[in-house]
Symmetry: D2
Subunit: 313 residues, 4 copies
Amino acid sequence: MVDLAALIADIAVAMAAQEERGQVASYIPELAKIDPAHFGIAIATADGRLLAGGDADTAFSIQSISKVFALTLALGKVGDQLWDRVGREPSGNAFNSIVQLEQEHGIPRNPFINAGAIVVSDVNLGGHQPRVAIGEMLRFVRYLTGDDSIAINEDVAASETGTGFRNMALANYMRAFGNLRHPVDLVLGTYFHQCAIEMSCRQLALAGRYLMLDGRHPDGGRVVSPGRARRINALMLTCGHYDASGDFAFRVGIPGKSGVGGGILAIVPGRASIAVWSPGLNDNGNSQLGTQALELLARRTGWSVFSPPEEGD
Amino acid sequence: MVDLAALIADIAVAMAAQEERGQVASYIPELAKIDPAHFGIAIATADGRLLAGGDADTAFSIQSISKVFALTLALGKVGDQLWDRVGREPSGNAFNSIVQLEQEHGIPRNPFINAGAIVVSDVNLGGHQPRVAIGEMLRFVRYLTGDDSIAINEDVAASETGTGFRNMALANYMRAFGNLRHPVDLVLGTYFHQCAIEMSCRQLALAGRYLMLDGRHPDGGRVVSPGRARRINALMLTCGHYDASGDFAFRVGIPGKSGVGGGILAIVPGRASIAVWSPGLNDNGNSQLGTQALELLARRTGWSVFSPPEEGD
Amino acid sequence: MVDLAALIADIAVAMAAQEERGQVASYIPELAKIDPAHFGIAIATADGRLLAGGDADTAFSIQSISKVFALTLALGKVGDQLWDRVGREPSGNAFNSIVQLEQEHGIPRNPFINAGAIVVSDVNLGGHQPRVAIGEMLRFVRYLTGDDSIAINEDVAASETGTGFRNMALANYMRAFGNLRHPVDLVLGTYFHQCAIEMSCRQLALAGRYLMLDGRHPDGGRVVSPGRARRINALMLTCGHYDASGDFAFRVGIPGKSGVGGGILAIVPGRASIAVWSPGLNDNGNSQLGTQALELLARRTGWSVFSPPEEGD
Amino acid sequence: MVDLAALIADIAVAMAAQEERGQVASYIPELAKIDPAHFGIAIATADGRLLAGGDADTAFSIQSISKVFALTLALGKVGDQLWDRVGREPSGNAFNSIVQLEQEHGIPRNPFINAGAIVVSDVNLGGHQPRVAIGEMLRFVRYLTGDDSIAINEDVAASETGTGFRNMALANYMRAFGNLRHPVDLVLGTYFHQCAIEMSCRQLALAGRYLMLDGRHPDGGRVVSPGRARRINALMLTCGHYDASGDFAFRVGIPGKSGVGGGILAIVPGRASIAVWSPGLNDNGNSQLGTQALELLARRTGWSVFSPPEEGD
């Protein structure tokens, strides 16, 4: 069996030596200020350990990774009715594509592209004010991690509110098709604040444990049913990396969800909840070093949902 | 642990009682003649058993399931160079879509849509005559199953040759972009014959064992490396059911590849190679009862690549 | 030579007898209230006559016909620089399509689809408040007609403001590409008010005279240069009827611009400025009876830009 | 009134001095050999004159200009039933786009894009062998010009047959939708030979006279009805220059049809049939100098279908 602590140290060293680090997201002004030299990794294991390396304690903007937690909440509220308003298919287009929405009458392809996540935010609003839905989301990630220090970066939220024309276009477009129930500004206010949650790799790895544990909280409580945990994992595998989801499944072989802040949450069912972070993005908008680190980790551990179980132990 | 033999019997009974059986593919005249009442299932397990139910011994046209074996052969010939000519992303469009080819300059999205499989056939031709490539394919599936009776239905192959205008369009279109090296009629001749291979559920489940066994033949030989087996499984999960791949991953949770003949090959890494067959197709062109049977099987066994390993045993 | 007065009477009678009148636009609540039984026609001739029939004095919402006047104003402000921000090609898609905007990076195909007209409104704002730009537009159509009673229906403008999600999507989308200079709500405020101008057929036929007279006002003044008048006519012919522009050119053969209020302004260079109105729309969103009336008029008069000049006199 | 002979001489001098001449079409090997230095122009007037300048007597491959004559023949055979199989709307996409065919179920947008012209060739075959249809086409253009020396360049026809993969894709694709009645190779054989007709500017200007004369042959016979002549002119204006049709209408203002051989036929109804030729193409695939020459000619003569008739005389 692999020595995870040593492996994490190896990976941190290997990543520090990488020269091609991708581009930091520039369309959100607050994110553009982040130093691309950062790299962090943390692994929460099924047997209760937490191993970390690099900048594993530096908080970063989780951005689209929040879509996993938001989806979990929305399924708790409306169950499978959600799928009347959002699809479950990979997108086949860039993450903010509006073309597909036109062709499919305002139903986004999946809950992990922006349009789908905006519908999820509309569900999570549930007739309340944005601050209620945002508070609920914060309480949820604090409960998952057992860490009440997790907070929203208001500067980042404001930064998105000011420049998110494309998301405003998506939201108005879906509203034109009747697929949003609340006013666009309330839905986007909720969405932008959710994306602006800041977590460290350590916190993020802890937050993902319920997806490794078939829906259970490590404290013994049940977050979601086993079936729902599996289905969220399935969505992460097929749709978690925008238009590079197939490539991530091919190269890394485990469910994951990336964010433009440079973080990735990856789940090895029954074994590990992994968080990596490096702000530079590749051409597909996913963390350049984060993807490489996960590929290296998967190869060295044998972790893959596509290999016989015994191989990975 | 589940009693697989009893479960298979249950599934066969449940499927026989289904009234909504979908539509038999009509665009290939020879396939349109098949009786939709058929249902078969076979499971080859990692511990060497073979369990079967229903019409598990009736041969059917494997059609697009052949793409899995053709891909395996092509990777053996040119390795990762294949990915310069074929992508690895889900399609997001219907299985015979030409739109994507135009937008992406003649590079098909993945080897499991028709355009991608035609490029794979071009690779497998390798400068030889179609009969050479077709012979190689037949030998390969006979080797995988240990059954030399497997053959091609020439009527079906001729039936496709006569009506495959859309595939001719795809092939000529890719040729216009320089992504085919051999004359279009030779490539399509190879492709149509490969699709016209006939196998029973029992044979098909045997043929898929190397993907369950991390690339090994049950006789101990190595068909492909462990990494390649995992990556083929990954492609089956993200791209194996055309535009319903995401839904299959969500509902069933294991890699699979369907064909318009009504067959599906599904792989549970380390546990089972499963073949189901029922000729009626759902709106996405995948076997209606076959999909339902696999969903039921997955739920009853707990088999899912997205659940902790111990859960499924 | 045709007796125009008699012909207009014939057309009004023929249209009154039509049973298939199309559907009144329903997406703008205020427009949905209009009685589909209306039909009006007015023709201003180059020799100074004004002939009218049917409900030629009933004011209706000119909607997209306003795009002709707005384009004229914008060209007066920025000249050919406008074409850096708006194309001049037929759309090939429905009038409110956002797909083309994505493929062409926020540059709308022409100034007569909604996206293009929104850019034109952005130009016409010119750093001022909407009421300034709206006032200028009103003064312009009053000058063209010599009729100061022309006004905006504030209920219609408010109706669009409240439901124009699709236009909000288009505007935000173009803003994301940097192709709007003013805040979206100011641009749309201008656009919605311009569309809510009400005119009768009589007034509209008068307003179009400068396009029949190679850019001259009948009072002798020059509205635009001859070349610009011809080019606006060319745009009306190729782009004036959304996705049915080719069909209108084929069947009617003269430049025209339709609006969802059911009006059409059509120009026979050197001969006539024609306004028709009937609220029921055909499948392409153009006035059902208006199109038929113009086709009949063109056939009976021989008016067509595609026939030898002498034929039409 | 303009001195046409002097103007033609001016234009020939101006074009000879142009340095930016575009790119000669490279995808048809035989065409790629043509010297880009050529420029020719010829004008047949309604009063029976024929004026010419530059290389007006050099034969060139008329290519897509043949679509005008083929459409005229097909309308003679099946009349308006043609429009059940071909649309009349501008394409909004590149001239050989297959995307639109998928979205619109095998019905090409208009008879002047390749797909539409292939359907027209299918109509013109009419159950006969290609040589019959090709012979009919040749007789038609010889009749229009009164010049029996017009012939097909077999090398060019063979050159297209060998490399026309994209047209083969289009044809097979439409066949898949049932919109071709004859075998693909017969239809394309007809189409490629029609495109390979060679004519000089002088011959081409003569051939276009019936469209200037409202359907009459200068010898007094009737080629098509006045209405049909106008409608063909309308199609040339809205669809004659692929994705630059709107721009041509905007800048030049008269109906025209271009070919990748570098020729353009342009019609001023009642006044002139104009042929220009220069092999270098602009980014839209239309003759660079040919377009400029027509723009200059239109400006100097005042010829435009969008200006009052008297202005142009």
